[in-house]
């Protein structure tokens, strides 16, 4: 209960800054958009697919892309499982003084779905391209912060989402290591279609 109280206080503190500076309100409304950062994270995988100075390097990059895609699936499974155990209400449903600057979501607050997916993808990318990966992980946290600022998520949703994302990434690495032969087959068939 103590953690929940601290979480609510942090959320109220961050959300308290909203509605004062128009520039920040617009910036966070753009950042929290359902398409912008998730699309950027998926485009990072698209970049990785073609990166590599030769075919061997590119093959390794493509293996990381497959790992990244599987991390999206794992992150969705983790979110579904988490929702079975804890259906947390949104801050604007439980806290009276929340200033909501976003639409009313209907899904549970914990964990923050886009943070889980984006951090999972960028966690995987970090092992192939450190710059894109670390920048992406910071961007995922920034997305989480903006969600708190707009009154859509609690701080614990973001922290939990980030950790779940990393967990999804780890699961996907494990999964790929078990099915490496199958992955090799996929990558070989992709070559036939000229998608490399």
């Amino acid at each position: 209960m103590e953690i929940i109280n601290i979480d609510q206080n942090i959320t109220l503190l961050i959300n308290g800054f909203s509605g004062h500076v128009l520039f920040f309100d617009i910036l966070f409304v753009i950042i929290t958009n359902d398409y912008l950062i998730p699309v950027l994270s998926a485009l990072s995988l698209f970049y990785l697919w073609f990166s590599g100075i030769n075919s061997i390097e590119r093959y390794i990059s493509q293996k990381f892309v497959i790992t990244g895609i599987s991390s999206i699936i794992f992150s969705n499974i983790i979110v579904l499982l988490s929702n079975v155990f804890w259906l947390r209400s949104r801050p604007y449903e439980t806290l009276d003084s929340i200033n909501l600057l976003f639409y009313r979501s209907t899904d549970p607050s914990f964990p923050s779905n886009p943070v889980v997916v984006c951090s999972a993808i960028f966690f995987v990318i970090t092992f192939r391209n450190k710059i894109i990966g670390i920048l992406g992980l910071l961007m995922s946290l920034f997305l989480g912060f903006s969600k708190i600022y707009l009154g859509v998520s609690y701080s614990l949703d973001v922290i939990g989402g980030f950790l779940f994302g990393i967990l999804s990434g780890l699961f996907s690495f494990l999964f790929i290591s078990f099915f490496s032969r199958f992955i090799e087959r996929i990558l070989r068939s992709v070559k036939i279609f000229g998608l490399n």
Partner: protein, 110 residues
């Protein structure tokens, strides 16, 4: 979809510039391709957020204007699964456009 296609072409130009993948070049000049890539990558989200200016006729605040692109799934937004299909389709279109452009460029330069 337009945003993803634009950004997809932008990404392909950046990666083809970095790793000299000539069959993805928009033009025969690599520097032009790089600038095109950067411009497309930035203009994709800009077009996405500013496009509602065409059909908005009532007076709304700036915050409301930028919130127009934030639509809940149940109120006409695109659901996760649908999003991923549109995304893959858009990337395929951007890849085909780049390959076509590179093919035409090669054909005319020879």
């Amino acid at each position: 979809m337009l945003m993803v296609v634009m950004m997809g072409i932008g990404i392909l130009q950046l990666v083809s510039y970095s790793y000299r993948i000539q069959n993805l070049w928009l033009t025969s000049n690599s520097s032009i391709n790089l600038y095109c890539g950067i411009i497309l990558l930035i203009s994709g989200p800009v077009v996405f957020f500013l496009l509602p200016i065409i059909y908005i006729d009532e007076k709304i605040s700036l915050l409301e204007f930028f919130s127009l692109r934030n639509i809940n799934d149940i109120d006409g937004g695109i659901a996760g699964f649908q999003q991923s299909i549109y995304f893959c389709l858009s990337l395929l279109i951007s890849l085909l456009l780049c390959k076509l452009s590179s093919f035409i460029t090669k054909k005319f330069s020879n």
